[in-house]
């Protein structure tokens, strides 16, 4: 936990972030588990190869054997021998809105998860601890229902054209004006897809001769956008300002490799909340470094917009900073607005440039009007412009839920990663079998959680990623905590050294 000194420090609030180390015994047993699974994986591949066992996997036909292989079979080793065994905990079909509670379609497998069959039953009112629904606007009731219905009947749902051609309607203009006000920037641009907002706009901003300094845990869309741009990419350790400063210093001192010409542009790319770690970017320090070395800052607020800050303005407001200091404000409407799509905000000349040069503006179909209306309604609700305090209440409720839930899980003895204000709560599981067991045991207790394992996380840091929502009442949280406590005892997940010994 890094307490930055209050007086004169960069931070206007305490910054409590913890990543307790994996206990050594647990780490070794985790490798043992993966070792045993790998051994049996090789055994199963051997049985499939000699046709002793039926191969459910997609493979080439006999006649195709001599062609270039379509399937990299080793690359699927992990999928077919480890992931298959526990994949009933993933991709569960839901048949309701992903709100505070959710209805699941029940399914069974008679061949160890190679195929599933639906029993026809619906498991109702599962407590949803897995969806990104921070402010609870993923609902088919509430303030946005009527306006969205109206817009749907008036505009239809498909734009069928891009922003630069016929796909530019007054709703988009209204959204972008409101969005610029919401973010506190000069102008903003909205796109139909969050992932594409990153992967299509970074190539429009940097190119050859530029340098991108990227956090090692950045999202795949940032990685793809950076690679597409053709700029040189250097990676700094997650949220580690010493590592970032060293890269900046080297970039300024040595310039480009071989020619040592100065970099045309240096772009620092960070995220507001890292959804796998539950950590919050050290934005005051990043901005201080950016000013010191005169580089640009690209802030991806996919998770933090709406979820952080007293008025839901994201990580900039959370730290009490000036939006002007962030050159490119990016974010998505998926997590806090119950919608879809992404946005970029910044100086007017930047936005006008992107309006002309961005892949998404030229080729991608623009945002669907009902989705635009959903965003407008929820944004006005958060800003309080709809005449109610619903938005304010939900922001406060989320902040309370987050602190309460994190504190209680730590008291129970679990290892929880990340910042104490982050609504994403990674609960560490470590061993591969416990990933599947946790997902199954929680579903038995009518709680839906998302579990994540290798290779999406380091091999010894498998986890359950619990996402809190403003729609969760304290009763719901207490039920969830009670069940997690039960399952934690059953699976012996209370590894923390800081737990209070009764």
């Amino acid at each position: 936990i890094h307490h930055i000194t209050q007086n004169g420090g960069l931070y206007k609030r305490p910054f409590n972030e913890a990543f307790e180390e994996t206990p050594m015994l647990v780490a070794v047993l985790t490798y043992v588990g993966y070792g045993i699974l790998t051994l049996f994986g090789y055994l199963r591949d051997f049985l499939r190869y000699w046709k002793i066992e039926k191969c459910h996997n997609a493979t080439e036909r006999e006649e195709q054997r001599d062609f270039v292989p379509l399937y990299q079979d080793f690359e699927n080793f992990y999928t077919r021998n480890l992931y298959m065994r526990i994949r009933d905990s993933w991709n569960r079909p839901i048949c309701s809105v992903p709100g505070g509670k959710v209805d699941l379609l029940e399914r069974v497998s008679h061949d160890y998860n190679w195929t599933f069959t639906y029993t026809g039953k619906v498991i109702k009112d599962i407590i949803n601890m897995g969806s990104y629904n921070y402010l609870g606007f993923a609902e088919n009731a509430g303030p946005s229902k009527i306006p969205v219905t109206k817009v749907l009947s008036q505009y239809g749902c498909g734009m069928c054209s891009t922003r630069q051609e016929m796909g530019n309607v007054d709703k988009h203009e209204e959204l972008e004006t409101l969005l610029a006000r919401y973010l506190g920037v000069e102008s903003a641009l909205a796109y139909g897809m969050g992932f594409a907002t990153n992967s299509m706009n970074i190539p429009a901003l940097v190119g050859k001769g530029c340098l991108i300094l990227s956090d090692e845990l950045n999202h795949a869309s940032l990685v793809l956008g950076a690679r597409l741009s053709g700029a040189t990419i250097r990676i700094f350790k997650h949220n580690n300002m010493q590592s970032l400063e060293k890269l900046l210093k080297d970039a300024i001192v040595y310039g480009q490799p071989r020619t040592h010409r100065p970099w045309k542009k240096i772009l620092i790319i960070v995220e507001g909340i890292y959804s796998m770690e539950g950590s919050i970017v050290r934005l005051p320090e990043v901005i201080a470094l950016k000013k010191k070395y005169k580089s640009y800052l690209y802030l991806d607020e996919a998770h933090s917009i709406g979820a952080l800050g007293p008025n839901g303005r994201g990580v900039v407001e959370y730290f009490g900073l000036d939006p002007e200091d962030v050159d490119i404000m990016m974010g998505t409407f998926t997590k806090s607005f119950g919608a879809a799509g992404g946005y970029i905000g910044g100086k007017k000349e930047l936005i006008d440039y992107l309006r002309v040069h961005s892949h998404s503006a030229v080729y991608a179909t623009s945002l669907s009007p009902p989705v635009v209306q959903q965003i407008i309604t929820t944004m006005k609700c958060i800003m309080g412009e709809d005449g109610t305090t619903l938005g304010k209440q939900r922001i406060q409720q989320l902040a309370e839920n987050t602190r309460y839930f994190r504190r209680r899980l730590k008291e129970l003895g679990f290892i929880i990663y990340g910042n104490e204000d982050s609504p994403v709560v990674p609960l560490m599981l470590y061993m591969p079998a416990k990933i599947g067991a946790f997902g199954r045991e929680m579903l038995k207790r009518h709680i839906g959680v998302v579990v994540v394992g290798f290779p999406a996380t380091p091999i010894i840091e498998s986890r359950a990623r619990i996402c809190l929502s403003a729609i969760h009442t304290k009763e719901i949280l207490d039920i969830a905590l009670k069940k997690i406590d039960e399952v934690g005892d059953l699976l012996m997940l209370k590894y923390s050294r800081h737990r209070q010994v009764p």
Partner: protein
């Protein structure tokens, strides 16, 4: 249950568990026998 979880046998099919457990029992048996002979 803890044994199944820690050794990841929880994820294996019943026949694989049988294979693993019989191998484990035979290795432990051999180790005990050899230890006895050695003593």
């Amino acid at each position: 249950y803890q044994y199944l979880l820690v050794t990841a046998l929880y994820m294996l099919e019943p026949w694989e568990r049988t294979v693993f457990n019989s191998m484990l029992v035979s290795i432990v048996g051999m180790a005990l026998y050899t230890g006895y002979v050695f003593m």
